[in-house]
């Protein structure tokens, strides 16, 4: 057997198109998904202090359903199921919603662990200064909680980026879709998938480096030493 990568060259455009889609899906998912996770974590944390209400129970159910079913099934459910109920939805929108709901469910749980490890002293100092629960969450709890669980958040965002390969199955023209498309034209499946897999690996490494750089800036307060 010989590997022949030259047959890929005519398909550079497809690969770039797919790459762009994968990247923007990931970026939008990360921004919206993490914001949503903060809201979910806040509501569920309130339930811990004041007893569960209907909203926090529903959110808890949402988190469990997402975490205990495969992403591909969630995607099919949205893409095939919603139109059947009379809610038309495009493949891209279905993919985006599925990815956001997925990331938010996992990261809300991760964040919750960070929030719950806030010390009693921090809460008391904030209460003694007269901060309300929302003010405490926003100004005192959130940033240190983020910094404590940041490595897990990075991993989860990468997992969702890699998992997005599945959106090719509902014909979203992402990187994997490009690979399938090329494979169906030039019948060099192995070469195509090798190259695209390598691109995913580079994306994962790049995403991690980017997150780490952002983290160093955001969480500079953790480093000791003289001012």
């Amino acid at each position: 057997m010989t590997l022949d990568f030259s047959t890929l060259l005519p398909y550079t455009d497809e690969i770039v198109t797919g790459l762009v889609t994968t990247v923007w899906l990931t970026v939008v998912t990360t921004l919206i998904g993490l914001s949503l996770a903060v809201v979910v974590a806040y509501v569920r944390d309130g339930a811990r202090e004041n007893g569960a209400n209907i909203v926090s129970r529903l959110l808890g159910g949402y988190v469990e359903v997402i975490r205990n079913t495969p992403f591909i099934v969630q995607l099919f459910f949205l893409f095939f199921g919603l139109p059947a109920l009379g809610v038309p939805i495009s493949a891209t929108v279905a993919a985006l919603i599925a990815m956001i709901l997925n990331l938010a469910a996992y990261t809300a749980e991760i964040l919750r662990a960070g929030i719950e490890s806030t010390t009693r002293g921090q809460h008391e100092a904030a209460r003694a200064l007269g901060l309300s629960r929302l003010q405490r969450f926003r100004h005192v709890v959130l940033v240190p909680a983020f910094s404590r669980v940041y490595p897990s958040l990075i991993s989860q965002c990468i997992i969702v980026m890699l998992g997005s390969a599945v959106v090719s199955q509902i014909s979203v023209f992402d990187l994997t879709y490009a690979a399938n498309f090329i494979q169906s034209r030039n019948f060099r499946g192995f070469e195509v998938y090798l190259v695209v897999t390598a691109i995913y690996l580079l994306l994962a490494i790049g995403l991690r480096l980017l997150f780490e750089a952002v983290g160093r800036r955001l969480f500079a307060f953790r480093q000791g030493g003289s001012a």
């Binding site: 057997m1 590997l3 469990e64 359903v65 975490r67 205990n68 079913t69 495969p70 992403f71 591909i72 099934v73 969630q74 099919f76 459910f77 095939f80 199921g81 139109p83 059947a84 109920l85 719950e116 490890s117 990468i158 890699l162 998992g163 997005s164 390969a165 599945v166 090719s168 199955q169 994997t176 690979a179 494979q183 499946g189 192995f190 998938y193 090798l194 695209v196 897999t197 995913y200 690996l201 994962a204 490494i205």
Partner: protein, 218 residues
């Protein structure tokens, strides 16, 4: 178009769910065996071997499982083997599982305080003896909750085998959908099937974790 009753749908899905369970077991048991070997290599002596294992883990954690399945399927074909979807899915999922378990277990071994290694060494135990009698028993206790937790990811991972034509729960769902055009019902049942398989594992993992680390900070 054939008429499918709800019972027909459920029955077909249940039959296919067997293969989800079987594939999960293969991947988990196979992955555990390979993962254990990798963990020992990763923790042990030779630097080039440690690097290789690390590269292996990073590779499988840094690429999509779907791509790994495609590569197993098409790669084997390119190498001249005519592999079935069964074989490709089993191999890919086993390797995928082994990489993640290796990473989890390495963390558990490293979590055992280094004083334990030193104590074993000064008693004259060699690497394997220290590992077997001192480190692994302690690491094992730490390893159980995250390992059970990861089994959920394995079960969910088998859903991707549907993409290379392996007929398990998800593939059965798409096939039934093509025949019945009742996607909402069908994918609700499919999701329910996975939930029934995964939720007890998740709960059990959380229970084990609580038991290990106490009730948590309140």
């Amino acid at each position: 178009m054939t008429d499918f009753t709800t019972w027909d749908i459920v029955r077909n899905l249940l039959l296919a769910a067997r293969w989800t369970v079987v594939l999960s077991l293969i991947a988990f048991v196979g992955g555990a065996i390979v993962g254990l070997v990798l963990t020992l290599l990763r923790m042990g002596g030779l630097r080039p071997i440690r690097w290789l294992v690390r590269g292996y883990v990073d590779l499988f954690q840094g690429t999509p499982l779907l791509m790994q399945l495609f590569l197993a399927y098409f790669g084997a074909a390119a190498l001249g083997f005519d592999v079935s979807a069964w074989t490709a899915a089993s191999v890919a999922l086993t390797l995928f599982t082994s990489a993640f378990l290796c990473d989890i277990w390495r963390g558990c071994v490293e979590a055992v305080p280094s004083g334990q290694w030193q104590a074993a060494r000064v008693l004259g135990l060699n690497y394997l003896q220290s590992m077997r009698h001192v480190i692994l028993p302690q690491a094992l206790r730490l390893a159980v909750p995250p390992t059970v937790g990861f089994s959920v990811q394995v079960v969910k991972g088998t859903a991707l085998a549907s993409v290379i034509g392996f007929v398990e729960l998800t593939k059965a769902g798409t096939m039934l959908n093509n025949a019945t055009f009742e996607p909402f019902t069908i994918f609700t049942f499919v999701a329910l099937g996975y939930f029934i398989l995964c939720y007890p594992l998740s709960r059990y993992a959380r229970y084990l974790e609580r038991r290990l680390y106490g009730a948590g900070i309140r």
